[in-house]
């Protein structure tokens, strides 16, 4: 049972990927890039979901997927034209399919009404004439389909004769499902019918029909129909003689010679008939049957001593081998690698992945690993890093010369540890694409709901970030996008009146900056109405009416708990989840969110998160007797200020002259509440740091101990969030040190104006 559950988990993981592929393909179709390859990919995604769902008896999912698949199959074969309108319908259908998957997973409900309506709509597309009766099969569907989730029974397309009530759906009637369905319609000009009748020699010469079919499928989608009417009963069967024949419907842009080329190496060992169109299917089959019914291939009976020594006239065995080689072993590595350690788990796990005939390239092997195993590996590597640091420190304490073998060996160990760490982290890194992909639909939906016109522009989809971070990106991005459309963009009329394009642009971008990932959501709307925001904040008692705030500070008021600018709660963004919730969830990740706005030109939300929640390069410093780690990514330079470079500013603050500019001096000890009075900056060391918004500050510390790679241990998880502190770590000597949050420290100084920090529980790193 556990094993089945495990397979099911794999299935749902694959469903997620398949749904993403599906949406990607449909979006491409909607943008007019609906080539056959895309349609095929879309079809396969739905088909694979159906296949897996069938294995687990997830009936509602199978039924819906089947209707969906039927329409896609019709699109694939050209029966239903591939249009932009169709893509829009398919996109909505894929939404419902995703709902079905979630429901099957126990993560939500499906609106069965909407699902039935969509199924009916899909059926109308498949067969416009069936429109009035479209609901009938659905009612029938409602009755549970006995033990077998025989999906095909739902179909209006599948030939009933082709289905047997046997749970294997066993049929020996040639299956003409696709062919018959399409024969009724105008047939695309690029359809061919290839009749293949292998002779026994074909197999004896180590050729293989499967390879021929696979080669054919490279020219375009194929559907083979086998005819086994000449097959003798098992007892009489000569296992090395050929009896079964095939009729293949092939759709390709290639010409007849390309098709013939596939059979080049089996010439003479295989009767071949190639006709244009599919009208010829029956005729071709009939003619083949006639041949097949003739006295069964006599030469086949003579026993072939194992690999028969090839007669010399056989057309070059070498090229044959060439054809065979690349094709046959290709699918193997994928299957192999996909197998979890316990082999028996493989069968069903492999099935939903119905990889189609496109033979995967040799390099495309994929391993599925339980994320927990990777997490454990990352934890272990973290411990290794700490251990290595401790070892290095001990060796240092013994005063061993840096040129000694021991010290050099340690250096190498450090190098290796670092490489291992990078590689391990890379395993878990993923492009943000998986999250971004879901957004175009969201934008369309929200725009529809709010009667606005919005176009989404995405940048940096391939920016990679640790999986732990990616999983939590979706919610804040969704919320920011909703907000941008609902509150940011004006209505088309307002935009026209303002001389703008009625269609608003919402930009979603991801980039790496200062060792963090930054997500920006910007709109070209009206920007934040600062007077109104200020007014609301005062009205709600969130700030004092006489408070002097900069524009930026007013903009950021929207993150205050209990703030909601929508006067009328809209369907879209006013569901009680305010920006404050977003901010809190981002902060919990060690991230920050801010907004910048220009009236009439739009707003930009900037969300910055650590690339990983695991390790950090830092500068170890001493402050008021405490050891702190300052993230290296934030440090521009370190220096010892001269007295003439320090200038007082205001009652308590002072600034440092660095080359041509002045930067505020912040005493870290005071900022964190370690001490009330700052020592003269000239007595200590100054770290010139740059915040994410580009603002600079000079942090005063007492001494620098050097650079160190540290393993991040969350403070939030183990204690609570502390302003100005990003996380904690364990140093080489086993002491706990706090990691400074540079941006928060700068922000604190701006807010408090450099005054000593008021009562805040003093947090002292434990020995």
């Amino acid at each position: 049972m556990d094993e089945l559950e495990a397979i099911k988990v794999t299935f749902f993981q694959e469903c997620e990927e398949l749904l993403a592929d599906l949406e990607g393909g449909l979006l491409a179709m909607q943008e007019g890039a609906g080539d056959l390859e895309t349609v095929n990919a879309v079809f396969r995604a739905v088909h694979s979901i159906k296949g897996g769902a069938g294995a687990f008896g997830l009936e509602p999912l199978v039924r819906f997927a089947h209707v969906f698949e039927t329409l896609l199959d019709a699109v694939r074969s050209g029966t239903v034209p591939n249009t932009v309108e169709l893509a829009a319908v398919l996109l909505r259908a894929s939404d419902i399919l995703a709902d079905h998957v979630s429901a099957a997973r126990g993560l939500g409900d499906v609106d069965m009404g909407a699902s039935a309506a969509m199924a009916a709509e899909l059926e109308t597309w498949t067969d416009p004439n069936a429109a009035p009766a479209a609901h009938a099969p659905l009612v029938e569907d409602a009755a549970p389909v006995a033990a077998a989730p025989a999906a095909a029974s739902v179909s209006g397309v599948a030939d009933d004769d082709a289905m047997d009530d046997d749970d294997l759906g066993f049929v020996f009637v040639p299956q003409t499902i696709t062919v018959e369905a399409q024969a009724a319609d105008a047939e695309p000009s690029n359809v061919w019918t290839v009749s293949i009748r292998p002779k026994s020699d074909l197999y004896r010469k180590a050729n293989e029909t499967a390879l021929l079919l696979r080669e054919l499928s490279r020219l375009g989608p194929i559907k083979a129909t086998l005819d086994d009417s000449a097959l003798p009963a098992l007892g009489e069967l000569d296992p090395e003689a050929a009896f079964v024949t095939w009729s293949v419907r092939l759709e390709t842009e290639e010409d007849e010679s390309a098709i013939r080329e596939v059979f080049e190496f089996v010439d003479g060992d295989c009767d071949l008939e190639i006709t244009r169109g599919e009208g010829g299917v029956q005729d071709a089959m009939a003619s083949l049957l006639a041949v097949a019914e003739a006295p069964p291939v006599v030469e086949a009976v003579e026993p072939a001593p194992a690999p028969a020594p090839e007669p010399i006239e056989i057309i070059a065995p070498a090229p044959v081998a060439e054809v065979v080689e690349p094709v046959a072993p290709a699918p193997a590595p994928v299957v192999e690698a996909a197998k979890p350690a316990a082999a028996p788990a493989a069968p069903a796990a492999a099935t939903p992945k119905a990889t189609p005939v496109e033979v995967p390239g040799p390099g495309q092997s994929v391993i599925r690993v339980d994320p927990e195993r990777i997490d454990r590996l990352i934890d272990l590597v973290g411990e290794l890093v700490i251990n290595q640091a401790m070892l290095a420190q001990r060796v240092g304490e013994y005063g061993i010369a840096p040129s000694s073998n021991l010290a050099m060996g340690l250096d190498e160990l450090e190098q290796l540890t670092r490489e291992i760490q990078d590689s391990v982290m890379a395993i878990r890194a993923q492009p943000v694409k998986s999250v971004f992909q879901r957004m175009p639909r969201l934008v369309r939906e929200v725009a529809n709901m709010t009667s606005k016109q919005a176009r989404l522009v995405m940048e940096g989809e391939n920016t990679e970030v640790d999986k732990t971070v990616i999983e939590r990106l979706s919610d804040p991005i969704t919320h920011m996008l909703r907000n941008a459309i609902d509150h940011g963009l004006e209505s088309p009329e307002e935009r026209k009146a303002a001389g703008k394009n009625p269609e608003g642009v919402v930009r979603l971008a991801a980039l790496h900056r200062s060792g963090r990932i930054v997500i920006e959501v910007s709109d070209d709307g009206k920007g934040i109405n600062r007077e109104r925001v200020f007014g609301i904040a005062v009205k709600k008692g969130l700030i004092a009416p006489d408070l002097q705030l900069t524009d930026e500070e007013i903009d950021n008021l929207i993150f205050l708990p209990g703030f909601s600018t929508a006067e009328k709660i809209s369907d879209v963004s006013g569901r009680g989840v305010g920006m404050d919730v977003v901010k809190r969830s981002v902060q919990a990740l060690g991230g920050r969110i801010s907004i910048a706005s220009r009236p009439g030109q739009g707003s930009t939300f900037t969300l910055s998160l650590p690339l990983t929640l695991a390790v950090l390069d830092g500068m170890v410093v001493d402050v008021a007797g405490e050891t702190l780690v300052v993230p290296l990514a934030a440090i521009v330079e370190s220096l010892r200020p001269k007295p003439e470079e320090v200038r007082p500013l205001g009652p308590v603050g002072s600034v440092l002259a660095v080359r041509d500019s002045f930067v505020p001096l912040i005493d870290v000890g005071q900022a964190l509440g370690y001490r009330d009075h700052s020592p003269a900056p000239t007595d200590g060391v100054v770290l010139l740091v740059e915040g994410e918004d580009g603002s600079r500050a000079a942090l005063v510390a007492d001494a620098i101990h050097g650079q160190r790679q540290v393993v991040i241990k969350s403070l939030e998880q183990n204690y609570q969030q502390v302003e100005g502190v990003a996380a904690a770590t364990i140093l080489g000597d086993g002491r706990v040190a706090l990691i400074l949050d540079v941006d928060a420290t700068i922000a604190m100084r701006r807010r408090d104006g450099g005054a000593p920090r008021p009562t805040e529980p003093t947090l002292i790193a434990a020995e």
Binding site: G52, P149, A152, A206, P239, A346, A354
Partner: protein
């Protein structure tokens, strides 16, 4: 009660005769064909499987293919033999 046959990895020309013999030996009882190891399925072994399927049906005995490997499913579909050899969930108009 039910017999089982574990299909080898490579179902090529050389495997066809032993496969037929294996089926004949187990005739008369329900059979489970384990297809999880299959990496290659050739036309001759396909014929044996089809004939066996027919024979078991004639005998009124259950014939089931258990846990087909991805390669098995893919090649069976390629052959257009999914109706005969695969249970409903693996079927479909895959090209």
């Amino acid at each position: 009660m039910a017999a089982a046959i574990a299909l080898p990895e490579n179902l090529d020309l050389k495997a066809a005769a032993p496969l037929k013999a294996a089926f004949l030996e187990r005739r008369g009882a329900a059979i489970t064909v384990e297809a999880d190891q299959v990496r290659r399925l050739g036309g001759l072994c396909l014929q044996v499987l089809l004939a066996a399927r027919k024979a078991w049906d004639q005998d009124g005995q259950a014939f089931s293919i258990k846990g087909p490997s991805e390669a098995f499913v893919e090649t069976t579909r390629l052959f257009g033999a999914e109706g005969a050899l695969l249970s409903a969930e693996f079927q479909g108009a895959e090209s």
